[in-house]
């Protein structure tokens, strides 16, 4: 096992065990600003860990980033780790939290969690369809064998329940960024409805600015807009729940690429993807900082 993060390769994909070792080393090396919180357990009883970046205080305005709700979206785990290191290096005075998501060992192209229920042949619930807003609507599936199976009830999955409990008890999260792949898109609510949100114009212009900041790094083009009009109607998703819970700046990324490699994005693209994604995230974070509510 690595003894420090200095030998950790940020331009490679890693197993869950390697990521958890990196977390412990990272927290040790940046203990003045980074701490590790366990907020729950996955269905398979693995710890769900959150990295908290803070210069002090309690329940200060915060930004939540999750990067890897879907296990097969490897680029999102790699990007999340790189961003964590970047935030620690930048040392800004903001509170931020980041979650890692358990990746699966046997089937590295698995999307859902691994929950099983008596009498159900197929396993797994899509953790991006199990949230309360619009639960069970169009763009999710009540077939347990489907990749977008929403589960038996809202927040039935321990992974989702853990995040909901954490964010609600924190009570002061001002922005939520949920990172997925692939398709090269930046989107905001709603997914479950074609109805525009109340600050749709603000989110549209913020997304436009963020995508421009991303483009200026390596020339990668993203499309942007609401989830339902840009991608498809999707119900019970993270960002819809976040928005309906009062988190005004809720965004969902779909990182590289547009399908040439899809989930099997070559590791050579990890650093460039992380660099450009960071600039987009920074744009959203700075807007949140300068528009308190």
């Amino acid at each position: 096992l690595e003894r420090s993060t200095s030998s950790f390769s940020y331009s490679s994909y890693h197993t869950l065990e390697e990521i958890y070792t990196w977390i412990d080393n990272f927290v040790t090396e940046h203990s003045d600003i980074v701490s590790k919180l366990q907020i729950g357990h996955s269905f398979e009883n693995r710890s769900i860990l959150v990295l908290k970046f803070s210069t002090g205080g309690s329940r200060r305005p915060a930004i939540w980033i999750d990067s890897g709700i879907h296990s097969r979206e490897w680029i999102t785990h790699a990007t999340g780790i790189w961003i964590a290191r970047k935030v620690s290096m930048d040392r800004r005075g903001w509170d931020g939290v980041e979650v890692t998501c358990p990746a699966l060992f046997q089937n590295r192209l698995w999307r859902k969690n691994k929950s099983s229920r008596p009498g159900t042949f197929c396993i797994g619930v899509d953790l991006n369809r199990n949230w309360k807003s619009g639960f069970g609507g169009n763009g999710s599936n009540n077939n347990p064998c489907s990749e977008t199976y929403h589960g038996p009830s809202p927040q039935s999955e321990p992974e989702v329940a853990a995040v909901v409990d954490f964010i609600m008890s924190h009570g002061n999260v001002k922005a939520l960024i949920s990172i997925h792949s692939y398709s090269q898109m930046l989107m905001y609510p709603y997914g479950h409805s074609l109805e525009p949100v109340s600050n749709q114009e603000e989110l549209y212009h913020l997304a436009k600015d963020a995508v421009q900041a991303l483009y200026e790094v390596h020339g990668i083009e993203y499309i942007y807009g609401s989830i339902s009009t840009t991608l498809y109607v999707a119900s019970g998703i993270t960002v819809d729940w976040a928005y309906d819970s009062g988190i005004k700046y809720s965004f969902s990324f779909e990182l590289r690429d547009t399908g040439r490699y899809g989930f099997l994005l070559p590791a050579t693209q990890i650093i460039p993807t992380a660099q450009e994604t960071w600039m987009a995230i920074r744009t959203i974070m700075e807007h949140t900082l300068h528009h308190p509510y």
Binding site: F105, Q106, N107, R108, L109, F121, C122, N141, N143, C145, S146, E147, T148, Y182, S183, L231, Y232, G259, G262, F263
Partner: protein, 83 residues
């Protein structure tokens, strides 16, 4: 660990909702024969579907029987490979 050797990811451009619906029917099969990387959404968006090697023949036959055919370039490449 699972081995995906021989699997193919097909990008499908559906002309209309009827063709999209055919793809959605594949999602309902038990056990699942395909794995959607980008699921059927609307005709203007491509559908990416991973097909295990063991199911390739059946799935391609299903698609062809409903008017979803391989692009000519791929047919040529496959024929060349066979030669």
């Amino acid at each position: 660990q699972m081995n995906f050797t021989g699997d193919q990811v097909l990008r499908i451009l559906a002309k209309n909702e009827k063709q999209l619906s055919l793809l959605r029917d594949l999602e309902g099969l038990k056990p699942q024969k395909v794995d959607f990387w980008r699921g059927p959404a609307r005709p203007s968006l491509p559908v990416d579907m991973r097909v295990p090697f063991s199911e390739l023949k059946d799935i391609k036959a299903y698609l062809e029987s409903h008017g979803l055919v391989l692009l000519d370039e791929e047919r040529e490449a496959m024929a060349k490979s066979r030669r």
